[in-house]
Amino acid sequence: MRWRGEWITAYAMIFPATALIAIFGLFPIGYAIYMSLYRWRIRQGGFVGLDNYETVLGDWGGAAAFFGGLLLILVAHHLWTRAFRAHAGWRRYGPLVGALTLASAGIAISLGWSRMVEAGEARFLGGLIRTTYYGFLSVPIQIVLALILASLLFQRLRGSETFRMLFFLPYVTPAVAGAAVYAALFSPRPERPINTLLGWFGIPPQDWLFETDPVLELLANGVLARIARLAGTEPIEVALSGFWAGPSLALVTIIVFGIWTYTGYNAVIFLAGLANIPRDLYEAAEIDGANGRQRFLHVTIPMLSPVTFYLTVLGFIGTFQAFTHLYVMRVPATRDAVDTASVVIFDTFYKRNDFSLAAAQSIVLFVIILILTLFNQRVLGGRGAR
């Protein structure tokens, strides 16, 4: 009887939160899936099954290979880590099997993606590539910078409270206001601040948010031009294209904004993590002869793994869903050079008025974020648990 009372109390306690999550979290996801299965343009049309997904992904075989490849990376990681905990035989061949699985994953992703791009919705798939650039370039830099900042602030510097507040300020600045100021700073006009700054170092004004060329191409051509000038010859120009050419300068400019916004927030979370590391671990390491660098690498970083995991997961989810500042900073002249998946979904919904296709795009993005979160959990979450 007492057990039953506790049971009722427990469910009564979690009911409000569960109901809220169900109404505002699960229901919209379910409704988006429902919408994606119909023809739905302003008003609901007939049932079309998976047609919208086929429009987005282009080719079912390619999509299966692509998503299968993503999951294979998880399997490869599992095999690899298991090998180091297993008996001698598996320890010998495990890494090899893991490496082969990883290679297979790479091939599957590459082949699958090629087939999807051929027949799928170019605008959305291009948006996914730009989202990948955005996430993988901004999150690691944010994390590393935040860790450095947090470590410095943790040294009980004079005025550290002020610095902490200053670093946190970009995070609480409204995204639209921050993005608008950034757009003005990075204006292509020669007299604007960033181009003026470049001018002091003899670098010509850049088009920043208007530049659609890959940043690697711009750097390469800049270096080649300088070499040609020194050698007194005609400069050679290179043109890079494809995934490995990297993001456009316009997107890199927005990535810089993302880093500026979130580094301070991450630093504050790292500071909380640093405060929770037991002092005796450092003392023990010191007694064992570890220097400062070794203590940082072998005590601080491992002990911060749960925080790093949390920030990485949140960072990737955030970058894959990023919208406001991208929308504010994009200009027509860049065409789709900065349109990440979220921006494309917004346009499909509000400008193309194709609600069902936008819903299908959202679900595809949702699945990718889910896989990415699982991957983060496997790689970083495990370390955090240890």
Partner: protein, 442 residues
């Protein structure tokens, strides 16, 4: 015979609905109006509403709410179409109204306009500029009227008259006054790039700055004698010979260094005011802002003119949002809303609105009440005289998305992409979007 029968049947339905409208009583209704106006325009709108609220004999109360820009209003409207949450009156472009209509979210205003008791007399109808009056009637929706025009603007060419005179005196150009042909425009733009204005406040000089925009595309195409939409075939025509010619012309200006992009919002206004830019093309609603930019800047003589053209007469791109009545409300409330629209577009209210907003009035008789204003604002008067030459961009659903593609592709062309290839792709993509949208009506 069949057509005649259909027309008669249509007329009979309209007459019968109009009779129904005649018997409605709008007394005591409250009208919510969503719009995008702010500052002086909002003050003028408030005055017009206040006058209506205090003088209308039915005790109708109009309330206004600023809901952001056109895009914000459009986004807010989509989820509440056909519900009572929709406002009674909303500002929107014709293509946005068409999108609302797909979702059954628009009320046909024809019965109100044609109503013997509440509608407009033939004389009043004839007072509207013809192109403005018919712009909100949608052939693709059985000629229903989904909006009514309270104001319009026009794309004009702004030019620095003093600089042009300097160039003519120096023999750098072979004509006087503003350029009327593309050749003259090129001559002046390139001459200005090489010969800075004596009164310039900054160390720069350029002929023309282009803001990539679907309306600018349309304006240049109109000026070259074409259109971006084939109304006979109901298809986009961005690859028409005239559009190709216009874009090639602009691309050449860019390649020759006589033109460049506008890289900041209203950056062309700033440069124009500083005396470093000879020409810009933009909306006539920007006249007061140009006036401020010049008077606070290099302070030179300037004015507006039609875009340089290959046609005999100017072909002006006239545009502007109308006001529409969303569905979801009682017929009495819709009637009350129409009565406010009637007041808003009356000659008296239009004169107040035109002066405060710098938009063009939609009624020809309003000009009589604006003579003082014309005398004070020469550029406005010049542009007003061009209204009879107006034409419009396509009022079709999905045009918002097409506009984005046009902006991007225009940028690509000015960056050097192949004009014919880009425009062929743009046309087929735009027609796909159109088909997509129209199929939702089936």
């Amino acid at each position: 015979m069949k057509t005649l029968f259909a027309l008669l049947a249509g007329l009979a339905v309209t007459v019968s609905v109009a009779q129904d409208v005649d018997s409605l009583d709008p007394s005591g209704q409250t009208v919510m109006f969503w719009h995008q106006h702010s500052t002086e325009r909002l003050e003028a709108l408030d005055a017009i509403i206040e006058e209506f609220n205090t003088t209308n004999e039915w005790g109708i109360t109009v309330q206004q709410e600023y809901q952001g820009g056109y895009g914000d209003i459009f986004q807010k409207m989509l989820p509440i179409l056909s519900t009572s949450s929709a406002p009674n009156l909303v500002v929107g472009y014709q293509n946005q109204a068409a999108t609302y209509a797909i979702g059954d979210g628009m009320t046909d205003l024809t019965p109100f306009v044609e109503s013997e008791r509440w509608g407009l007399t033939d004389e009043e109808k004839a007072d509207f500029f013809p192109g403005f009056y018919t712009a909100d009637i949608f052939p693709s929706f059985d000629n229903q009227r989904f909006g009514f025009p309270p104001n319009r603007s026009m794309e004009v060419m702004y030019y620095n008259a003093d600089w042009l005179a300097e160039l003519a005196d120096a023999g750098a150009i072979s004509f006087d006054g503003p350029p009327t042909t593309p050749e003259q425009f090129r001559e002046a733009a390139c001459a200005a790039t090489d010969t800075p204005f004596s009164g310039a406040l900054a160390d720069a000089s350029l002929g023309y700055k282009l803001s990539t925009d679907a309306s600018r595309f349309a304006s240049w195409t109109f000026a070259f004698g074409g259109d971006v939409y084939d109304y006979d075939a109901d298809r986009y025509a961005y690859d028409s010979p005239e559009a190709i010619e216009a874009m090639t012309y602009l691309q050449d200006l860019f390649e020759d260094g006589c033109a460049d992009f506008v890289t900041e919002r209203y950056g062309d206004q700033t440069d124009f005011g500083q005396g470093t830019l000879l020409f810009t093309v933009g909306s006539s609603s920007g006249l007061p802002y140009y006036d401020s930019a010049v008077s606070e800047g290099a302070d030179f003589a300037w004015s507006v003119a039609p875009l340089p053209r290959t046609t005999e007469d100017p072909v002006m791109n006239v545009y502007g949002a109308s006001v529409s009545i969303p569905t979801g409300h009682s017929p009495e409330a819709d009637l009350a809303t129409w009565l406010f629209i009637k007041h808003y577009t009356s000659p008296e209210a239009q004169a107040t609105w035109a002066k405060a907003s710098n938009y063009f009035p939609v009624r020809q008789s309003v000009a009589d009440g604006l003579s003082d204003y014309f005398a004070e604002n020469e550029a406005y008067a010049t542009a007003f005289d061009l209204l009879p030459y107006g034409t419009t961009e396509p009022p079709v659903p999905g045009y918002d998305f097409v506009r984005d593609n046009v902006e991007s592709d225009m940028a690509a062309i000015m960056d050097g992409d192949d004009v014919e290839r880009v425009l062929a792709t743009l046309t087929s993509e735009s027609n796909l979007i159109l088909d997509d949208q129209l199929s939702a009506m089936e």
